[in-house]
């Protein structure tokens, strides 16, 4: 809000000054200058207070968002056996233990595999869907009305998994998997992840496909390229940033998913987040658990920094090139 006040104050000053100089002259203004300075001082104090308040809120938000991550990483370096912050002493012992501990490997591998496979499947069917929808959209005006209905229905359908609360999806899926006798199988978790991350992947893939303009594809085809050749040589290279981003976001969301995995977990289908979730719930917080969380936290921050840097590099190269 202080921006408005700055603007308003500046405006008021301008309004005050212009007639003073031109019409009223300088002397009447001098007489009131004490009050004017006081008022101006009051305004600037008010602006300053507002600014300070907003700055304070900003820092509070930042602290609230980063705080938990810092605490997790800090607590994992304590020398005590239970997680405590600020850490007492500094040691990497718990990290070594978490890495050596083979209990994490099964869930970790399962999570990794499921996220890769579900993101890959989703990206593939999302590309197919995006291309199909685009063709209908392009020709809608000239053709029939039911095409428009088709597009909006498919779109709502594609985005629907994200509109339902996860827990409702989880309950619905579990009911069906139990009746099919599939509960506790890897397939059930894979199917759930494919459903959950599809809307995110679809939105980004569609944005990526918009980067491959229709006229380029048509000129390729008019030069005699086959449909598959056009796809591999024109569409895919042009849309690869969006598609890559879709895959990455889908992977990140999938590997962090807890709610649905907790519902669908069986003895052989404990993913890494579920493993940590169960451990945090069942026992007092030990330092090696905090270290495992710390590894995930550092991994996330690292992944984000890498993404930001690669995006910046990409942007720079696209500017110069």
């Amino acid at each position: 809000m202080s921006y408005h006040s700055v603007e308003a104050a500046r405006q008021r000053r301008n309004n005050d000054q212009s007639p003073t100089v031109t019409e009223r002259g300088r002397s009447p203004r001098r007489e009131r200058s004490n009050w004017a300075t006081l008022a101006r001082l009051a305004i600037s104090v008010a602006i300053w207070l507002q600014r300070a308040a907003i700055l304070l809120v900003g820092f509070a938000v930042a602290l609230m968002l980063i705080g938990p991550l810092i605490v997790v990483i800090g607590a994992s370096m304590t020398e005590t056996a239970y997680a405590v912050f600020p850490p007492q002493g500094l040691t990497w012992h718990w990290y070594a233990m978490a890495i050596r501990d083979s209990d994490y490997y099964g869930p970790g591998l399962l999570s990794f595999g499921i996220s890769i496979v579900s993101a890959a499947i989703d990206t593939t069917i999302a590309i197919s869907l995006g291309l199909g929808l685009e063709v209908v959209t392009r020709r809608r005006i000239s053709v029939k009305r039911h095409h428009g209905i088709f597009i909006s229905t498919v779109r709502v359908l594609a985005l629907s998994p994200v509109m339902f609360p996860r827990i409702v999806t989880a309950v619905a899926l579990l009911t069906v998997f139990i009746s099919l006798g599939l509960d506790g199988s890897v397939v059930s978790i894979l199917v759930a992840h494919i459903i959950l991350i599809f809307p995110f992947i679809f939105v980004l893939v569609e944005a990526g496909l918009a980067n491959a303009p229709d006229h380029m594809r048509r000129s390729a085809e008019s030069l005699g390229a086959s449909a598959t050749k056009t796809f591999w040589h024109i569409t895919l290279p042009l849309a690869r940033t969006g598609i890559g981003a879709a895959f990455a976001i889908g992977f990140v969301i999938s590997i962090g998913e807890v709610t649905v995995d907790v519902f669908l977990q069986g003895p052989n289908t404990v993913t890494l987040p579920v493993y940590l979730f169960n451990a945090v719930n069942d026992s007092p917080l030990t330092s090696d658990l905090s270290a495992a969380s710390g590894i995930i936290a550092v991994g996330t921050v690292g992944l984000m920094l890498a993404a930001a840097i690669s995006l910046a590099v990409l942007r720079r190269s696209s500017k110069t090139g």
Partner: protein
């Protein structure tokens, strides 16, 4: 690549089949099952809903609603100033502010919940700090209370208010304020009649996302509630998997669905899909 309508339909079909078979069918089954469709013993009935709404579950719904409304209030009152700050910042500082917002979205809920678990404990940082400042004499039990849930969920969900409002603030043409000032509008008047209407859409869409995610959050309420605070999702889990009562679990999830959907429909007439697409693609596009 694809030329005719039926070819396009073929191209769309894998996605449609996957979503209908593995999402739509289970949801429809859940909805109809909670009314007793396909139930040999009872037949069509509203009995499960009656059981759910007369028992202690009603309290859990109220707990969920209270927590969600508090989180919503906190997210709006601190997320909006943050969004405003972000819209006034440029360069590396803006990048840092954006990064801070993206951290909780990208990192696992478990990690964040663990962090709050360490902070809020009897020997945690916050109690240490309060004792050091001589505000409290004895450590307060903050863990496993609704307040702990509110803190954890707000920290997770603030970005969904801060991100859309920051783009809305950045999109306001400052000439409007000049025009208003030249017409003699006071600052409060400008805030009410210019700023508020212009960020209204962003606020509403952010608020509806926060509300929906808060009502259906499961992992954080379980960890920070420690079996003492029962929200709807925690209740659904215990009914369904601990007590193994799928029909009541199903009816509860239908009630949760209604409790989420009705305010959302009132909130955003424009539909949430557009805003969703907006905040997913925005970080990339900026």
């Amino acid at each position: 690549v694809v030329k005719r309508f039926h070819q396009a339909v073929v191209a769309c079909s894998p996605a449609i089949i996957v979503i209908v078979a593995t999402f739509l069918v289970p949801i429809v089954k859940l909805l109809s099952g909670s009314f007793g469709v396909g139930d040999a013993k009872e037949g069509l009935t509203l009995g499960y809903f009656r059981d759910v709404l007369t028992g202690s579950q009603l309290d859990h719904l109220l707990v969920s609603l209270r927590i969600s409304v508090s989180v919503l209030a906190i997210c709006i009152s601190i997320g909006t100033p943050y969004g405003w700050m972000m819209s006034r910042t440029r360069g590396a500082r803006r990048g840092a502010m954006l990064g801070i917002l993206l951290l909780p979205i990208l990192s696992s809920e478990i990690v964040i919940a663990t962090g709050w678990l360490i902070m809020l404990g009897r020997n945690g940082v916050i109690n240490d700090l309060l004792a050091a400042l001589r505000i409290t004499k004895e450590p307060i039990d903050m863990l496993y209370t609704p307040a702990a849930l509110i803190a954890g969920l707000s920290a997770l969900l603030v970005p969904f208010v801060a991100l859309p409002t920051s783009t809305a603030f950045a999109g306001i043409d400052s000439n409007i304020y000049r025009a208003a000032a030249s017409l003699g509008a006071a600052r409060t008047r400008m805030a009410v009649s210019i700023t508020l209407p212009l960020i209204r859409g962003a606020l509403l869409s952010g608020a509806s996302i926060v509300y929906a995610l808060c009502m259906s959050a499961y992992a954080i309420p379980t960890i920070l509630g420690g079996g003492r605070v029962f929200t709807m999702p925690v209740d659904i889990y215990s009914k369904y998997l601990v007590l193994y009562d799928p029909m009541v679990g199903g009816a509860l999830s239908v009630i949760l669905l209604i409790a989420v959907a009705v305010p959302l429909a009132l909130f955003s007439r424009g539909g949430t899909t557009g805003t969703l697409a907006g905040y997913i693609t925005k970080p990339k596009g900026q």
